[in-house]
């Protein structure tokens, strides 16, 4: 067990290192000049040159990457001209754009994204698994066909359409909800929930379509297995068959997919965040990519990678708890 977590932690570090290196190389070879973008449109060549020097953009790729790694593991000191700014490990450096500490920017953005991820996951698990179960148990009927159409429509509608539709319906037409503006959970839990409701629904419903289909096919597959036939031949009710014998096996792939999806929201939910004006990591990433703000992009990639790895470890543990044959090694 201890060796398992040790091994997975080392694996996580390796994944994150590779990811960050790939981002560094990609941005190094990509066209565009971060210094010009950071300096602004009115800068002259000399000013841009100064900015380049300040950001160490002329250093070789390896040197830049080495500085980044040093920052992450030991921390870094930055001179801002008049004073020295100390950045503790893990330090992702300073944003090219505004000389802010990237770590601080991330910490500011994390709560909104985490709120979105947790709520959306609750929605897609409840709606997705519920719909999947219903359509598997009522297969061949009108219910199943209606649900199949609904889930297909759900998969086919991007968040920027469903999100706007939800906003129009609940905020403009029915006026049941105010236009969402993010309120931190720590500040006012009730307002937090009301404001997050629409983003949760938009992202959760989109994902739930996929989960409904997965749950349905997985459950039908499990229900066709020999051990289900055994209990059916012993007079066990269909309801107990599903609840006691089929569900556990059928939900295993759902757990695995949830882990991957949950992790990737930490960096990948930019459409939802932008649509609903959530000050989250996805929004930060969109801005940083446009401005070639390398330290921010690398930091977001690292956070996303870490989240995916952690979510997968949690999924592995759940697997092992659900199925005793699985050993954590």
């Amino acid at each position: 067990m201890t060796t398992y977590f040790l091994r997975r932690a080392l694996g996580a570090v390796a994944v994150v290192l590779v990811l960050s290196a790939v981002v560094y190389v990609t941005f190094y070879v990509a066209p565009g000049d971060p210094a010009r973008l950071a300096c602004g449109p009115r800068c002259n060549t000399e000013q841009i040159r100064q900015v380049r020097e300040q950001l160490s953009l002329d250093d070789p790729l390896l040197t830049q990457y080495w500085h980044f790694l040093q920052g992450v593991f030991t921390g870094q000191d930055y001179s801002t001209g008049t004073s020295v700014l100390h950045c503790d490990a893990p330090c992702f450096g300073l944003s090219y754009q505004n000389n802010q500490l990237v770590t601080d920017m991330l910490v500011d953005r994390l709560p909104a994204t985490a709120s979105l991820a947790v709520g959306a996951m609750a929605v897609w698990l409840a709606v997705g698994i519920g719909t999947g179960l219903l359509s598997a148990l009522r297969r061949g009927g009108v219910t199943e066909r209606a649900l199949t159409w609904l889930t297909l429509a759900g998969t086919a509608t991007p968040v920027f359409i469903s999100g706007v539709a939800l906003l129009m319906l609940f905020c403009v037409y029915l006026e049941w909800l105010p236009f969402p503006s993010y309120v931190p959970l720590t500040q006012d839990p009730e307002q937090w929930a009301w404001n997050m409701l629409l983003p949760w629904l938009a992202l959760g419903l989109l994902e739930s379509a996929k989960y409904a289909r997965l749950t349905r096919s997985s459950l039908l597959e499990t229900l066709a297995e020999d051990h289900i036939r055994t209990f059916r031949a012993y007079g066990v009710r269909e309801r107990s068959l599903v609840a006691r014998h089929a569900l556990r096996g059928a939900l295993a792939p759902v757990i695995a997919l949830t882990a991957a999806d949950f992790g990737s929201i930490f960096g990948g939910a930019m459409v939802t965040e932008v649509t609903f004006g959530l000050p989250g990591i996805g929004q930060l990433l969109v801005n940083a990519t446009q401005k070639i703000d390398l330290p921010v992009v690398v930091a977001v990639v690292v956070i996303t990678g870490t989240a995916v790895v952690i979510a997968n470890i949690v999924a592995d543990v759940l697997y092992a708890v659900a199925d005793r044959r699985v050993a954590l090694r």
């Binding site: 297995e225 020999d226 051990h227 036939r229 055994t230 209990f231 059916r232 031949a233 012993y234 007079g235 066990v236 009710r237 107990s240 006691r244 014998h245 556990r248 096996g249 659900a322 199925d323 005793r324 044959r325």
Partner: protein, 555 residues
């Protein structure tokens, strides 16, 4: 049931039809039979004869599956086809209980075995407490011979051996004291020794509880010693129904006689076929390919060992096995599951790398060769696998599968390969036009023929057959074994024939190797070994083979 004369089971004009894409398949067609209380009936026939389908109808298991069922089925006074859902649920497990084939997949992998039995008990005894149900589970597990039942009841299926799982399934059937046990091929997935134990258990239970038994099997040998009456099925109909002795001694139908003839027997010697005299092994010169070829030694294993895993968890599957295969001979390798025979077979064709010892093919040590260096030997060493379903790619036509080793060898052009594949299909008794058909269009026996054709394709000198017939019914077994014998005689290929069934091995082998716990416990000429087994383990294996004569002895 008050009427003492009323039969336990009465089936009249039962038909079961499955609508498929190309018309209706009539699996059972006008079947009628009765079973007296406490009686035992064996339903026998080849695969596809409808015997399992008929057995399923006794518990109404075709309901809601889309199958069309007609006729009438009465079990202990319950009209199965007309019964409401609640009555049917009460019947299933409470009055008539099914023992399924393949004990691994028939139990819930996630739950403790005791809990699964307790659940069945509580389904039928609504007022029973959880505690009482658990006690009942332990009681029946103990009855079927699970040692330390109270503790083992908490184990999950994967922690049980195949035989113990089958016992657990029988325990589940006993939980609610049913009047009828329906056992569908209960021993097909088991070793011959475990099979004998399970059959003994079924006999004892009948005597003790007076429950009726319907045993569905393709193996007349299994039915012979266990039931009183035999019902022989063919194409969904009963072709013969009489007391066991009558059927065995004076079979009326040709079909029944064929089934009887197909049962592998221990007392039938291998028909010796004319072949080249094989020089003795004494003169073998090690290290020289020429010298080895002269003495006819093809493959030589010396102290071959294979260990899986590392450190404390290491398991030695094969330990210090020495074996010589001469050109054109057949060696039978027998033993129970877990005796290391498959591991040995895989090492002989270098699908597995030995962790110790030497493996010489025509004088050259191939035990440690890398995959690239092995390629030269791949076409000469081939394998036929146990499961003809999973060992063929379902998405490739059988012709393509057979052509694969030829393409890999890279010696022939496309047209030649196609011609050779058609020739091979014909050689193994299939239609050469089957080139473009896919595995699912073939029966199990035909698929195994495809597997044999694929092994023959690169003209090997040695084929290792790993339980090539254990997934097939007896009639098909006999045909495939005969085919292997013919091929061996005509082409002079050496065969290593791995099986747990000694009777099957006897029909084909010159020499025999008996394995136990990864080691060879006895080896020798086949006839000597069968007639005068030296090792007690071999004697036990031989004694476990079901015999048709047993029925006569018992009756």
């Amino acid at each position: 049931m008050t009427a003492g004369t009323e039969p336990l089971v009465s089936v009249t004009d039962l038909s079961v039809a499955f609508p498929t894409g190309d018309g209706v398949v009539r699996a059972v067609d006008g079947l009628s039979f009765t079973l007296a209380r406490g009686g035992a009936l064996g339903i026998v026939g080849e695969s596809g004869s409808g015997k399992s389908t008929a057995a399923y109808a006794l518990l109404g298991l075709h309901r809601d599956t889309g199958a069309e069922v007609s006729g009438s089925v009465t079990v202990a006074g319950h009209d199965v086809l007309a019964a409401g859902d609640a009555e049917l649920r009460a019947l299933r497990g409470g009055v008539a209980a099914m023992v399924f084939q393949d004990p691994l997949s028939s139990l819930d992998p996630y739950q403790a075995i005791g809990d699964q039995i307790a659940e069945v008990y509580r389904t039928h005894r609504k007022d029973a407490s959880r505690r009482a149900a658990r006690e009942r589970a332990t009681e029946v597990l103990d009855r079927v011979g699970i040692p330390d039942a109270a503790r083992r009841a908490r184990s999950r299926p994967h922690e049980f051996s195949g035989g113990m799982r089958q016992r657990a399934l029988i325990a589940m059937a006993l939980a609610c004291e049913p009047r009828l046990l329906v056992a569908d091929e209960p021993t097909t997935a088991l070793d011959v020794t475990v099979q004998a134990q399970i059959l003994d258990l079924l006999r004892d239970l009948r005597e003790e509880t007076g429950t009726g038994l319907i045993l569905v099997t393709h193996d007349l040998g299994v039915a012979a010693g266990t039931v009183d009456e035999l019902l022989v099925m063919k194409d969904g109909r009963a072709v013969e129904h009489a007391p066991v002795r009558t059927v065995l001694d004076t079979p009326r139908e040709t079909y029944t006689r064929d089934l009887l003839a197909a049962v592998p027997r221990l007392n039938v010697r291998r028909k010796v076929v004319a072949k080249r005299p094989v020089p003795s092994v004494e003169g073998a010169v090690e290290g020289s390919a020429e010298g080895a070829a002269d003495t006819g030694v093809l493959l030589e294993a010396e102290g071959l060992t294979r260990t899986f895993g590392r450190g404390r968890k290491a398991v030695t599957a094969v330990e210090e096995v020495s074996l010589t295969v001469r050109a054109g001979e057949t060696i039978g390798v027998v033993g129970e599951s877990g005796s290391g025979k498959t591991t040995l077979g895989r090492m002989l064709v270098r699908l597995l790398e030995p962790t110790g010892g030497a493996l010489r093919y025509r004088g050259r040590d191939i035990g440690g060769l890398k995959e690239r260096e092995l390629r030269a030997f791949r076409s000469e060493l081939q394998m036929v696998f146990q499961d003809p379903v999973s060992s063929l790619n379902p998405r490739r036509s059988v012709g393509e599968s057979i052509a694969d080793p030829l393409r890999a060898a890279g010696r022939l052009g496309d047209a030649e390969i196609v011609a050779r594949v058609r020739e091979l299909l014909e050689r193994v008794g299939l239609d050469p036009g089957a080139y473009h058909r896919y595995p699912h269009e073939f029966s199990g026996g035909q698929r195994q023929r495809v597997g044999i054709a694929r092994a023959l394709a690169p003209e090997p000198r040695l084929i290792v057959c790993d339980e090539p017939v254990s997934a097939l019914d007896v009639t098909t077994q006999a045909q495939v074994v005969r085919l292997l014998g013919e091929i061996q005689r005509d082409l002079g290929v050496a065969l290593v024939f791995i099986a747990h069934d000694l009777a099957v091995v006897r029909q084909v082998s010159d020499r025999l190797v008996v394995m136990k716990g990864g080691r060879i416990v006895e080896e020798g000429a086949a006839d000597t070994l069968y007639e005068r087994p030296g090792h007690p383990y071999t004697q036990g294996l031989l004694a476990a083979v079901p015999r048709l004569e047993k029925a006569e002895a018992a009756a």
